[in-house]
């Protein structure tokens, strides 16, 4: 069972739909007990870093996520969910993130239009099980104005070019983060969802 962490952040139903389509049992909830019983977690979300952390905190979800990571359960952060994995966010001043990954989240510095909206292709930097059957040049749908800057560059699995290198996929053991929206990235997005689903099935 995959738990989709519901912390009141935007269009979560599309993540659920994508998991359904992939044939993976899932539940969207903020119930600690249910999430603790799940074999893997997805932290979705759009919106601001600070609000996102506040909502996670308000619902007491932070220890639930930390526990899952310690137990080795696969965790996938999507978009804002990826950002929140890091230590510090710089949207509306500085605020602390989950700190599961070392690094900061900063506004894009590109000279191109912000937000970065649309399909962009990946450059695979390091192999990751979340990228099985995904190759250089495959396109995914991005919508964001901020990006993660990991301290440990070796956790960067893929980047994309948007007038600057944008960190698109990170992997650290059982923790995965994607800047794009796999649930909105048509067939290739489904491949990634399936990779995650398989990782969860393997763990359970």
């Amino acid at each position: 069972m995959i738990g989709i962490i519901d912390y009141g952040r935007g269009n979560i139903s599309s993540v659920e739909t994508a998991l359904d389509k992939g044939g993976f049992e899932n539940i969207t909830t903020d119930d600690h007990n249910i999430l603790r019983k799940c074999d893997g977690l997805i932290l979705p979300g759009v919106g601001a870093f600070k609000d996102g952390m506040k909502d996670l905190e308000g619902r007491g979800l932070i220890p639930v996520i930390e526990e899952a990571v310690l137990q080795g359960k696969p965790l996938l952060g999507i978009c804002l969910g990826l950002h929140l994995l890091f230590e510090v966010g710089e949207e509306d001043g500085q605020s602390a993130g989950l700190g599961i990954l070392k690094g900061r989240v900063e506004r894009l510095t590109t000279k191109l239009k912000i937000p970065h909206i649309g399909w962009n292709d990946l450059k695979i930097i390091n192999p990751s099980p979340i990228l099985d059957d995904i190759v250089d040049g495959d396109n995914f749908y991005f919508v964001h104005s901020y990006q993660a800057h990991p301290v440990d560059k070796s956790i960067i699995s893929a980047t994309c070019d948007y007038g600057q290198d944008v960190v698109a996929v990170v992997t650290k053991n059982n923790v995965f983060g994607v800047q794009f929206h796999p649930e909105k990235s048509s067939l290739k997005g489904m491949v990634l969802i399936q990779n995650f689903g398989r990782l969860v099935s393997k763990w359970s």
Partner: protein
């Protein structure tokens, strides 16, 4: 590299697609969900539903269309038409749409853009601008389906829309809409260069060169088209292949 987007637009009235022919793979071309699925499979980068339902009572049919589409379509889709309030936005987004597009209500009340962006995020808020050149050669933003001039000059309105927090601008040339003469490139370029948010060109596409012109000469980030796809003049794949051959960065 960011790809330029090709976006088919579907006009929906009372839950049914207004124009459109039968494609081989579609049993019911009047069903917006079927058509949306088809376009997703064909490689469309995004979809826009324009709800032209006249009666208020039948508005809920659009919510149902959105809900069903969200279950079967895995590319972003925008819903426009008849969205007048934060509650309307919430209903459409909750049903599974990724973005809402607003025009007249945004001009009448800018707060709607600001509030919408604050509550749902800028990426959800598309402001549609219907532009028409007046006798002095100035582009004016029109409201009420292109019937009334708001008196606002398009470029300054576009900048204001951006400042209010809109994530994208859907720019339609009223002069070109339905003509098949191509996008108004002067207009498209003016607005694209004036704002830093993405501009979607719309109105007037009759052939594939028009798509190229809008994206390259007009500098739009995305090209929206309706009839060339619905009437089967070109498939999405043909359009994309054409653009790729001409060196445009397109998702394949």
């Amino acid at each position: 590299m960011l790809k330029k987007r090709i976006i088919p637009c579907l006009d929906v009235r009372d839950g049914r697609v207004v124009k459109g022919i039968n494609f081989v793979d579609i049993q019911d071309a009047g069903d917006p969900v079927e058509l949306a699925k088809f376009y997703d499979q064909e490689g469309a980068d995004e979809l826009v539903f324009l709800d032209i339902t006249a009666s208020h009572e039948k508005r809920d049919t659009m919510i149902e269309v959105v809900r069903k589409t969200a279950k079967q379509v895995f590319i972003p889709f925008t819903v426009g038409g008849g969205i007048k309030s934060i509650d309307d936005m919430r209903n459409i987004l909750r049903a599974g749409a990724d973005k809402v597009s607003i025009n007249t209500p945004a001009i009448k009340n800018k707060e709607l853009i600001t509030q919408g962006a604050k509550i749902f995020g800028s990426q959800c808020i598309v402001v549609a601008i219907d532009a028409k050149k007046n006798e002095n050669g100035i582009y004016e933003a029109y409201i009420n389906g292109g019937r009334i001039s708001s008196g606002l000059e398009v470029v300054s309105w576009a900048k204001e829309v951006e400042a209010c927090g809109a994530g994208e601008i859907l720019l339609t040339s009223m002069d070109r809409d339905g003509t098949k003469d191509g996008y108004d490139l002067e207009l498209t370029k003016l607005v694209s260069e004036a704002v830093s948010i993405p501009v979607i060109a719309s109105g007037g596409v009759g052939n594939l060169e028009h798509l190229y012109d809008g994206l390259v000469k007009g500098k739009a980030q995305a090209a929206l088209a309706a009839s060339i796809f619905h009437y089967g003049t070109y498939s999405i794949k043909e359009a994309k292949q054409y653009l790729i051959d001409k060196g445009v960065d397109i998702r394949w």
